[in-house]
């Protein structure tokens, strides 16, 4: 299916910049998605994750300026128009939005819409399009798919609608699915079911996934690779379990440290004597927290955008924006931080009050 070998990335983004109204909201983002793999693009509102996704999908907001490189299967598509993307949409790159109702027409049956998606890229008879549509619904776990295909979107539950949208994204066998917060609007239980379905359907079709999310847990449990964005730049990237298990940027470390202790894991372990301070919390005890708030793209600080909130910030951080660099020469991880080599181990200690006091005694050498 892909032209390149499996070692080459399916999607390679290099130095992507997206500007709107004279403001640069995505400021030089680089990452890759390998065939069949799931990469999570993690960030808060305003970090530029949705804009990055929309630039890759060829659906940027009106008036956006896109520069840098986006290669899909080796083909340069950064900033390309609909004439190029029309060839790619559905067949090679497909989109799963947060709100299923944003892409499903309320007045056509789910089956008709899926069949239309099939016929939009393949010249097949209606009956064959219909057969593929029903098979796609069946493939995302919709029971009695032939009958359910005759229902209108509003007759589906939220979880079923999201399954239908996943079926529509997969129906033409794209190599890459871009899903923007696909389960944010769903209850936790339904969310897990929909994510399981997405994983199974991807395993069956071999499609890669670019998962846009603000949810660390989702990124950690559902992605192979993670790219953490802050203020339009990559703060840190690498294998998801490493990025969140042992963060190497102060921002990611802060996100991990301030995560609520899970009720499943803290029920008994909480009172353990030897557990890390980060997990040894009692109910209602103050959580480690990152000071301040994310900067507005209109009002970025000089130097590292995280410096005003960073417990480790030194003068160099306030003067120069750090570039992403490999944490070790052969390794798969990058971090953009002047003081990454001075982070405590584990880095979440940075947000532990005692750990922080110890650290501030040491004057920065950078």
């Amino acid at each position: 299916m892909t032209h390149a070998s499996s070692a080459d990335p399916l999607l390679a983004v290099r130095g992507l910049r997206v500007g709107i109204d004279g403001t640069e909201a995505v400021r030089g983002v680089s990452f890759a998605v390998r065939p069949g793999q799931a990469t999570a693009l993690v960030g808060e509102s305003g970090a530029g994750k949705s804009l990055t996704a929309r630039a890759i999908l060829g659906l940027p907001p009106h008036g956006a300026r896109i520069s840098g490189s986006v290669r899909l299967d080796g083909e340069e598509i950064a900033g390309a128009g609909p004439s190029v993307y029309r060839r790619l949409w559905g067949r090679r790159i497909a989109y799963v939005p947060q709100d299923a109702l944003a892409v499903l027409s309320p007045v056509h049956t789910v089956g008709d819409q899926l069949a239309a998606a099939v016929r939009s890229v393949a010249r097949v008879p209606r009956a064959e399009a219909r057969r593929r549509a029903v098979a796609a619904l069946d493939g995302v776990g919709i029971a009695d798919a032939a009958r359910r295909a005759r229902a209108l979107p509003h007759e589906f539950s939220g979880g079923m609608r999201q399954r239908a949208v996943i079926a529509m994204a997969l129906v033409n066998g794209p190599g890459l699915i871009v899903a923007d917060e696909p389960t944010t609007a769903l209850d936790p239980r339904v969310r897990d079911q929909v994510l399981d379905v997405l994983a199974q359907a991807r395993a069956a079709s071999g499609a890669a996934l670019l998962l846009i999310t603000h949810d660390l847990e989702l990124a950690e449990t559902r992605a192979d690779e993670a790219v953490v964005l802050y203020a339009g730049r990559v703060a840190e990237s690498g294998p998801a379990h490493q990025v969140f298990g042992d963060p190497r940027s102060p921002y990611t470390a802060g996100l991990v440290a301030s995560k609520l202790p899970g009720w499943r894991t803290t029920g008994t372990a909480r009172r353990g004597q030897d557990s890390l301070s980060a997990t040894a919390r009692t109910p209602q005890a103050p959580l480690p927290a990152i000071a301040g708030t994310p900067p507005s793209p209109l009002d970025l600080p000089r130097g590292c955008a995280f410096a005003p909130r960073c417990p480790l910030a030194a003068q160099v951080c306030r003067d120069e924006e750090p570039a992403p660099a490999a944490t070790d020469p052969a390794g798969p991880r990058t971090v953009a931080c002047h003081r990454a080599h001075q982070l405590p181990m584990p880095a979440v200690m940075l947000y532990d009050l005692q750990g922080l006091q110890d650290l501030q005694l040491r004057e920065p050498t950078g």
Binding site: S258, P283, P286, L287, T293
Partner: protein, 250 residues
């Protein structure tokens, strides 16, 4: 001791549909009672009924510090309103987009004819960790976390005893969420506030609540228990299902 909030047989109907089905619970001073359940279970309708924003059916009782609220109208309800205040989910949507936040925060004081000067605004802003210099800013000039802090400051303006918090941090970015959670738990300790805390985030509820009430679809409370007990040994089949102890229906 009289509970701060005592809800008995609360029944709320929308047309001929029962959304809250004869629910009873209490919240004490300094206590957080969490109300959990899936979307559509009736959690927010319960909150609105407690706030007097939707009318419950006859036979329902909502007592605040021993005083019956249902059936109260006009001046007599208004006299009690300052004692229980809401904090909403949407940090932007719950603030007037055209009013500087200092003004929004002290608006309840003006409504109730109390002094609402800049000094009181600054005091409230400091209480919730907002720089008083932001008093002149409009909501769109602030982040989500700052807006939610402003919403909490407004709720505190009238020195309430009870806050009704409906998903107060679920719309916030992860890097500011724990700061607002700390603010809420700290304010409770400092001011002895009672919280009716509505959320579907089990980790959050486990962290903040003293007791948990579980609402099943149809608006029935199936179980109320101290937090550690509920999470360690849920009794009701629906609670077990909600906590993932029992397989759920797809």
């Amino acid at each position: 001791m009289t509970p701060l909030l005592d809800v008995t047989d609360l029944l709320v109907r929308h047309g001929d549909r029962t959304v809250v089905d004869r629910v009873s619970f209490q919240v004490d001073e300094g206590e957080t009672l969490a109300l959990i359940g899936e979307s559509g279970a009736g959690k927010s309708s319960t909150a609105l009924a407690v706030l007097g924003l939707v009318g419950p059916e006859p036979g329902s009782s909502v007592r605040f510090a021993g005083q019956e609220l249902t059936g109260l109208k006009g001046r007599r309800l208004r006299a009690l309103r300052p004692r229980f205040q809401p904090v909403f989910q949407d940090p932007y949507g719950s603030l007037d987009p055209r009013a500087p936040i200092g003004r929004t925060i002290t608006e309840p004081l003006r409504v109730h004819g109390r002094p609402a000067g800049a000094a009181r605004a600054a005091e409230l802003m400091e209480l919730v960790g907002l720089d008083p210099a932001y008093a002149d800013r409009l909501p769109h000039e602030l982040s989500g976390g700052q807006c939610q802090r402003a919403g909490i400051a407004r709720a505190l303006a009238l020195d309430p005893r009870l806050l009704v918090l409906d998903e107060p941090v679920s719309a916030l970015d992860p890097s500011v969420r724990s700061g607002v959670v700390n603010l809420l738990t700290g304010l409770q300790k400092r001011l002895g506030l009672g919280y009716l805390f509505i959320s579907h985030d089990l980790d959050l509820v486990h962290h903040v609540a003293h007791r948990v009430a579980v609402m099943a679809p149809g608006g029935r409370l199936v179980e109320t228990a101290p937090t550690h007990e509920l999470f360690a040994s849920p009794r009701d089949p629906y609670t077990k299902q909600l906590l993932g102890w029992a397989p759920s229906r797809p």
